[in-house]
């Protein structure tokens, strides 16, 4: 039986409905954070302002990520 295919591996945690679309905002957030660190490491006269632009772009995605984590925690705690 392919447990990866039927999703039963996630059943104890009650998160079998995880779909790849829910990870898309997280991927975008990771891209922005990676870019932020690269710019911070490179430095330069305008790096601080550019990092502020990236921070503003990442902020809503970070909130969305925290909401998702809270929902999953709630789901796990409810099931346990």
């Amino acid at each position: 039986m392919n447990i990866l295919a039927d999703g039963s591996f996630a059943a104890p945690l009650g998160v079998r409905n995880l779909d790849q679309i829910y990870f898309l905002p997280l991927v975008v957030l990771l891209v922005l954070l990676l870019e932020r660190e690269m710019i911070r490491a490179a430095g330069g006269p305008r790096a601080r302002a550019v990092i502020r632009i990236l921070d503003m772009a990442a902020f809503p995605l970070l909130i969305a990520f925290l909401i998702m984590v809270a929902l999953r925690l709630n789901q796990v705690l409810t099931h346990s």
Partner: protein, 283 residues
Amino acid sequence: MFVSSTVSRPRRLPSLLVTSVIAYVAAIATAQTVAVTVGPLQGASCFALMFVALVNLTILAYLREADAAAGHVWRLLAVAAIPPLERLLMLCMPPLHWGQLEEYVFWSVPLVLGAMVLLRTPLLSQWRDLQPRLVHTRKGGYGLSGLTGQLLVAVAGGGLGLGAGLLAEGQLRPVGDLLQASEPAWFGIIVFVFAGCSQELVYRAVIQPAATAAGGWAGVVASSMLMASAWLAWVGVVVAVPVVAASLVFGWAVRRGNALIGVLAGRGLFSLALALLWHRVLL
């Protein structure tokens, strides 16, 4: 796209702006079509790519501006990144099973918090005089004429919502059936605040001032159509008529009165009326 906004080449901006807006709207429409026809994951991926691309274009435009503090090209690009982010969150937030319509909360909370942070930064400082207040109207505040106008806008929103609902279903829906299927208070809060006011707040307080600064009344129409386009993909052409009309009325009201309260109430009533009449909203 990266032409400096300083006075050296002022004549190139309008034609460049029109071309950019057409390309931008076409990209949004294409991604929306992909989300509806191909699948939500593919559509969301398009919006994710658009969002990341626009953030990076904002950075590049900022770095190329001769006077970045006064430049407005990078500011326009930054504001243009909001609708793809909105659509991305709309498509990607997970529906759960402890209520109805809860995904409205999940995507609107990050968006509104992001917009509030944005409003407190120097990013929008150039358009401070174009930004609407919550209640205080341009004609002198809390007087009868200002409040009457806001009230009329709110009533117009409710009426257009009823029109949209009737066009969708063709008949009135028994409200009792709806309230049995959902917690009334939860339903009202979600539809009024999260499905209605939050989107209006983001578009009228952040995007419309930027669009107005760039294109005057054409910017009002463009930002209103951009907001309505979020609905067009799933409500159909007939129902889209009152949706577009409401969006244009709200855009006009904010530009004319410079106050948000009537528009927020009107949009909340619009969403509430549409949800009360239309089965599909709750499916």
